[in-house]
């Protein structure tokens, strides 16, 4: 019992970074530009957030500057893609590599560390506890006392859904992705709409990164994002940006992630469980592309 609860909690904790990043990715995806730079945005936010939370002793500062760092990356990304018309994949991948380099440089140059940053003074994200959940022991165990951004990430699913399908901005975003000339013919600027998608996307990825260092791990490590930015991209593509499908896919990956940490190493060599998320990603993409093909052809 205890084990099951702990496993479910781990799944939820591991779902959040994917879910948050993928929701951000969805904003860009539906506006017609895939976010390939999520890995780098998450990494730089995780580092900057962590540094600020131990230098200032305030998690608010950490959260703010972590997200701000990701937004700066997002704006640079947007300038290259929207203004200079550079290839979105080339720029995204370059930014990911560059953020890895910058992070390694900063912890080496200023903190004399090789791959990990850990400080006693770090003021991590607060744990939320709701007293109304105390009444039911199971719910209390399962749903209470999570780090701040975990409940927020689930609330953002609803918020994203409302924005996409109920607000004018959501219509513009989706129109920009589906038929850009519909947007320009209606007198709106494609570039402006996509720029806001880049920024929102960066805010979400920034929060995902901050959650990893200041919430989930309580430290910074160069390897802490560990491909989650790309898994998040796969999730976005899988759901073509639909927040509900993004939620379901993120939960599946979160559970797979938690499971990979739990399979006893005597039974299966530890490398295999670690591959699990990636194998699921590939399978999901194959299934999705078949689905997508039959969908478009039936539309014709």
């Amino acid at each position: 019992m205890e084990n099951t609860i702990e496993f479910l909690r781990a799944s939820i904790r591991l779902t959040t970074p994917l879910l948050m990043a993928a929701l951000g990715g969805a904003f860009m995806q539906v506006s017609g530009v895939p976010n390939v730079g999520m890995e780098g945005m998450m990494l730089i936010a995780a580092l900057v957030g962590y540094i600020f939370c131990f230098t200032t002793g305030s998690w608010v500062m950490g959260l703010f500057f972590g997200v701000a760092a990701a937004v700066i990356v997002g704006i640079i990304y947007a300038i290259f893609v929207l203004r200079l018309k550079a290839d979105i994949f080339a720029v995204g991948i370059t930014l990911n590599i560059m953020m890895g380099g910058i992070a390694a440089y900063i912890i080496r140059r200023y903190y004399d560390q090789i791959s990990i940053l850990l400080s006693q003074d770090a003021k991590l994200l607060p744990i939320l506890s709701f007293s109304f959940l105390d009444k039911s022991p199971i719910l209390n165990l399962l749903l209470n006392n999570y780090s701040l951004l975990i409940p927020i990430s689930f609330l953002l699913v609803a918020a994203t859904y409302i924005v996409f399908y109920k607000t004018p901005f959501g219509f513009w975003l989706r129109a920009a992705g589906s038929n850009p000339s519909a947007v320009s013919a209606s007198g709106k600027s494609i570039t402006g709409i996509r720029l806001s998608a880049f920024v929102i996307s960066a805010v979400f990825c920034g929060m995902a990164g901050v959650h990893l260092s200041m919430g989930y791990l309580g430290m910074f490590a160069l390897s802490l994002v560990a491909g989650r930015g790309f898994i998040a991209l796969a999730i976005v593509l899988f759901g073509s940006g639909n927040p509900i499908i993004v939620l379901i896919a993120s939960l599946i990956f979160g559970i797979a992630d938690a499971a990979s940490l739990r399979i006893p190493t005597e039974v299966i060599p530890p490398q295999f469980p670690l591959m699990l998320p990636y194998i699921i990603t590939i399978l999901a993409i194959i299934l999705m592309s078949r689905y997508a093909r039959s969908f478009t052809s039936s539309e014709q």
Binding site: T167, P168, F171, W172, A182
Partner: protein, 504 residues
Amino acid sequence: MTLAIETHQITKLYGDTVANDHIDFSVIEGHIHAVLGENGAGKTTLVKILFGEEMPTEGEIKIFGKTVTIHNPAEALDLSIGFIHQHFTLVNEFTIAQNFALGIEPCNNLFFCDYDTVNKKVKNILDMLEMPLKLDVPVGSFSVEERQIMEIGKALYRGAQILILDEPTSVLTPQKIEKLLDILRKLRQEGKTIIMITHKLEEAFSIADEISVLRKGVLVATLPHDRVNREQLIRMMVGEEPLITLKKEDHPFGDALVQVRNLCVNNYDNRIVKNVSFEIHRGEIFGLTGVGGNGQAELVEALIGMRPASEGDIRFDGKSVVHWDIQKRRLSGMAYVPENRIERGAAVSLSILDNLVMGHHYLPEFHQGLLLKYKNLQSFARDIIKDFEVVASSLEINAGSLSGGNLQKLIIGREFSLNTPFLIVAYPSQGIDIRTTKYVHSELIRRRDTGYAILLVSGDMDEIFNLSDRIGVMYSGELVAITKPEEINRFELGQYMVGSRRNC
């Protein structure tokens, strides 16, 4: 009589190209104004300037008497100018109301939109256009014609008093063209001002109050429709050079080069082409016609190898080719001018040269081992440009910067120059001007006379009657008639096309 639009000395330069040369163009309020001119004459450029998609290099614009500068489409919409593009500007996933209101959603508070009021307005507009369409389904489920009229509705919803249409009829079948023209007449009664670009003189005569002709960027004349005749118009469009006259003489066919036997083509579970059999002989133009969407496109795609045949056989020069891929079929002697030339026929972000050599590059005269022979390719490309009168400043510019018709000519030229014994040509005159149409037609006849087999797919009755040796009509996936042009009249052909008659 007030003027809706008045331009003064509008000039537009693209690099060295003078697309518009000091144009004084005026349109009377409440009239339909047709704009004619050869490919690359500057028609699209002129209306893009009026809609704020391009800024004039020089000149002045007055809308309803007020001097204005139109920087972008939003400002044009504010001046009640609506532009119906040749490509669709609808979002397929959205409903009609969501499309019409895109960018101007009525919001009763900061976030949420009130689509009930939009729907009421949309319904009024659709009633006026006599298009009772479902309001709660995505527009992607409507037909091309319905979406074209929806584009007009969208402009009206946005309060357009002036409607600009760039070649609105070029993708429509004759019946649908009539319907569209009726709608435009109706809008004129409601007091709207309409500018329509077209290549079809009949349309201009049947609908326009005034006709303007552009040639090489210059406005040659604007005349009331009853003060000008066909010959004068053509002379104004093409200058003093005479047009080629078509001469087609009967001659015996050779052997059957292409034989199609019981061909069936599926789109997933739908059978789109049903049991079609025919042959095309050397020295014959086989005209395939029908109302759009009755399987002609799929039949052609199966012939060239873009779509698998689900049953039946295709024989080319005696050999069965159904299992060959496109390249093998092309190398064995087929060429193909596709229907959708911009999507399927060209790579618009590549240069003109690149576009012209595609498919030719593996011919022996153009490469040596792994390397291409650029000199040969360039002189070859220059020949095509000259023969087909493609107006382009150099071989290096993007194919996408050519005018609509010039891009069409480029692709037709490329496929014709393959000099293959079998040529599939879909809708050759779509979007191209009178002079080039004549040239293309005379080239088709010349090739037929030298023993080529030609499959001509077209919805244009004149084209089908003037060029074909035999005519095949498709209806709902079946070949319902094979006949000769001298054996039927237009009325009978129409009966075959709508399925009320068949002969095989």
